[in-house]
């Protein structure tokens, strides 16, 4: 799995922004908030969250509305809405480009883009310094009918692994709790559990982190795992953000 590429806080006018590129998907995310909310949407003890997903081509369709609902419900559980009551957090996600093979894979395209949208939205929220409960990592697992499960497959890999039996999107919080699961296709509970375990390994940090280091052989295995770990990747993004913001300090 290739690690996603991210540029953070690059839009001038938005309070927070992030551009995210992974597996041929490129998405620009912008967050404005906390700002004044329309009287009609105001909630007395909570912040209102508005998610706008704009497709790469054309205007939004029911597919985008469906993605917005999924994102809204997931992000609501990680934004500390009660600390900024009667305000609005506006999240706009513009899909910039999709992989060429996207439409020819013949599978549910709202599932394949969901992890990328979640990551972009989260990074933009991070950039806007909106108070958050926890971090969020997400991945896609495809279960082909013939070969082994595919972890965060590219559109090309999906095309070659046809027919795909089922697809699963998992999102985990920083402390390893499942935040979102969207599945499509026919699958048994065992298959789902296998996919869930696989996603958890990629998304969450290793449990024994910071503990006693094992022998040399294990270290190497660790190294391979680390390159695929999304939690570690997220921490790297956070570190580069903080270093960028603190760079004047090292100069003086």
């Amino acid at each position: 799995m290739v690690v996603p590429e991210v540029t953070i806080t690059h839009l001038n006018r938005a309070d927070g922004s992030a551009t995210y590129t992974h597996n041929g998907y490129s998405i620009i995310g912008a967050v404005n908030g906390p700002i004044e909310v329309l009287r009609r949407d105001e909630m007395p003890e909570e912040a209102t969250i508005e998610v706008n997903v704009r497709p790469a081509v054309g205007v939004g369709s029911p597919k985008e509305r469906h993605l917005e609902t999924l994102l809204h419900n997931t992000l609501r559980s990680i934004i500390l809405t009660r600390t900024i009551p009667r305000t609005l957090v506006q999240i706009t996600l513009q899909i910039k480009s999709l992989p060429e093979e996207e439409s020819s894979t013949g599978i549910n395209t709202s599932l394949t883009i969901l992890p990328h949208l979640l990551h972009t939205a989260f990074l933009a929220l991070l950039s806007a310094s909106i108070p958050l409960l926890t971090t969020l990592t997400s991945t896609l697992i495809a279960l082909p009918s013939t070969s082994t499960p595919l972890l965060s497959p590219t559109a090309n890999e999906l095309l070659r692994a046809k027919p795909i039996k089922s697809m699963h999107v998992f999102a985990f919080s920083g402390d390893g709790r499942l935040l979102l699961n969207e599945s499509d296709g026919a699958f048994s509970f065992e298959e789902w559990e296998e996919a869930c375990d696989m996603a958890e390994q990629v998304c969450c940090k290793e449990v024994d982190e910071g503990g006693v280091r094992l022998g040399g052989g294990d270290m190497e295995v660790d190294g391979v795992e680390n390159s695929q770990n999304l939690e570690r990747w997220l921490r790297g993004v956070g570190r580069s953000k903080v270093e960028w913001e603190q760079r004047w300090k090292s100069g003086t």
Partner: protein, 242 residues
């Protein structure tokens, strides 16, 4: 451990008790600044991504970050824009698209019920945040409540407003943090700089040329994060063009 140390935190990171300062003597209770959340009984969790800053002298901890929108805190010095005048107060904006903050007519030096200050819309006021609860509009004042004096607060006349990052504003307002750029320029030309914690800098240099040069120089230092030699070079270039 030195007086101030920094480490990276992400939202949801629990701050171990060993990383927090332990109170001694009078300052027994730990103070949590922006970016930290206390979950009873004794858990401290970060809510934003930034650098954890602890100060063992003041027994305080906070997360330092330089992005996002300005949120008012009591005691902050801000530059507010007057929007309208109501019966008892002015409605002012601290940041765009936020509910207005209130600035009472009587919160000016020497203001009485008979002599109220007249501020037309869009005029700039340098003021202090009095209250900023999450359940009410922030309240501003232009006088020191103890002395009733202005202490430099009040309407800003002439000059021009420049936008800087929140971190830059904090850096300019920090005690004993002098920008070499302003020191050097101030030795040669006269100008007035007012810094608002809400990411605004008001510069009045008398002439448009000086005002623009100084305002843009401050923005350059902010964008490029110039260190001391870089600022000295920039200042020399500006003085040459004057």
């Amino acid at each position: 451990m030195s007086a101030t140390t920094t480490t990276l935190v992400l939202p949801g990171d629990e701050i171990p008790a060993s990383a927090l300062p332990t109170g001694t003597g009078k300052r027994k209770t730990l103070k949590l600044g922006p970016g930290l959340r206390h979950i009873p009984p004794s858990t401290v969790v970060a809510t934003v991504a930034g650098a954890l800053v602890t100060d063992s002298k003041k027994n305080a901890a906070s997360v330092e970050y330089n992005s996002g929108r300005y949120l008012p805190f009591p005691g902050d010095l801000v530059i507010a824009t007057v929007n309208s005048s109501a019966a008892e107060n002015f409605n002012c904006f601290l940041t765009p698209h936020m509910p207005p903050a209130t600035l009472p007519h009587l919160a000016f030096e020497g203001a009485t019920k008979k002599t109220r200050p007249q501020l037309p819309p869009t005029s700039l006021v340098y003021c202090r945040v009095v209250t900023a609860g999450r359940d009410s509009a922030p309240e501003l004042t232009c006088v020191d409540p103890a002395t009733g004096k202005g202490e430099g607060l009040g309407m800003l006349k002439g000059g021009m407003l420049f936008k800087v990052s929140l971190g830059m504003a904090r850096r300019l307002l920090a005690p004993k943090a002098d920008l070499p750029l302003l020191d050097i320029l101030g030795g040669k030309i006269g100008f007035e700089v007012t810094v608002g914690r809400n990411g605004l800098v008001h510069v009045d240099g008398g002439t448009v040329k000086i005002t623009l040069a100084i305002g843009q120089a401050i923005q350059t230092v902010d964008e490029q994060a110039l260190d001391d030699p870089g600022q000295k070079k920039l200042a020399a270039g500006i003085l040459k063009n004057m």
